[in-house]
Amino acid sequence: MLARKINLIPTEMAVPAGSLKIAKILKKLSILGVISLIILTISAITLFVFYSIELKKVNSSVASLKNEISSLEKSEQKLILVKDKLGKIAYVRSLDSAENEINQFKKLNEIVSVSSDSAFTEVSIGSTKTEVSLISNNSTSLSSVLGSITNLKDYGKIILSSLGFNPMSGFLTSFIFSSK
């Protein structure tokens, strides 16, 4: 005998088919949600434990490295001191100095010294320029010195600031030599 489904609920009390369908979907979604929740929680716990173990290892390694650094304290102080000094030395070395101008003036002095009729009377050497006063007994020596000066390649700019003549001493010239 075939089993028959008997519904004794009054028809006006029966749940509509649409609601039944939604209820089924909700039930399925809820089961899916529970499964997701379990999987997610297990994964999260696994990941958390893994990261915790890793972190513990890293922290112990950092602690041991810190101990090692503490034992190398003297070396660190030495390095910091040397680095600090070297930084300051680099700064001092970057400051302008008259040293280059002195070296360039040496060459200028050699040129003038060749001529016995010319000599420097006054020289002022700074960090960026050299000012000189030159005396030449005659025009020949003056033109010779001027010719040598024009051939100088060490200076960026040469200014003839004054040119005078004194019958007693000869030609008096003043130059400004600038490297930049």
Partner: protein
Amino acid sequence: MDKVKPQTNKIIVNDTPKFISEESKFMIIPLAIFVLIMSLLAGSVYFELGQINLIKAKLTEGKKNQKLLATKVSILQNVTNVIPIDLTSINFALPEKGIAIYGMSQVKSQASTLGLIITNLRTGSVIQEKNGVSKATISFDVEGNEQTIYDYLGLFSKLLPLMKVDKVSISKLDGIVKASTTISVFSGELPQRIPSITSPVTDLTNDELLTLKEISTFSPPQFVIPAPFSDTAKEDPFN
């Protein structure tokens, strides 16, 4: 005429009116379970992701520190091979104090070695420069052979403490050359702060190593400021 009352389809249970329909009643439980599960899911996602991100951030930071400290240890272990044990030159290059005395000592001692005469030796006050560097200006007149004076002036760039020739005025009178010179002597203050253990250190660059090597060839001053006596227990004269 009797009025016919319209029949309503209202379901009456226990004589009380039902405000919630049977359909809604049927949906309440699955919907409530669904909402609860979804809330739990959302909450757990939020909480778990937050915790994982937190521990991950800690791990990243820890690994970064580990790498930094490992590099630091390697550099520090190598320091003794790179930096000479004796740091006298580097200390004299920019002493903390006494630069005017060191500078004047160098001016006189180098001149006497070359047979030059120093007159009008004077010094100014110490002026603060940038980067913890200070300078003192020393002025003097030097007399002697012209070429020797140039050699002498060239020496200042290879002397300790570090010095720079600022200005030279050369005058010649009856074959005697006199150079009125102004030099600057530099000092450097010691670092004010001790860096923390986790702060990074960088190794010496090639330029720094070259400077270190070069500085060690410079001439230190002959004059040395004596170190203060250490506190020693004085002998009891009554015993």
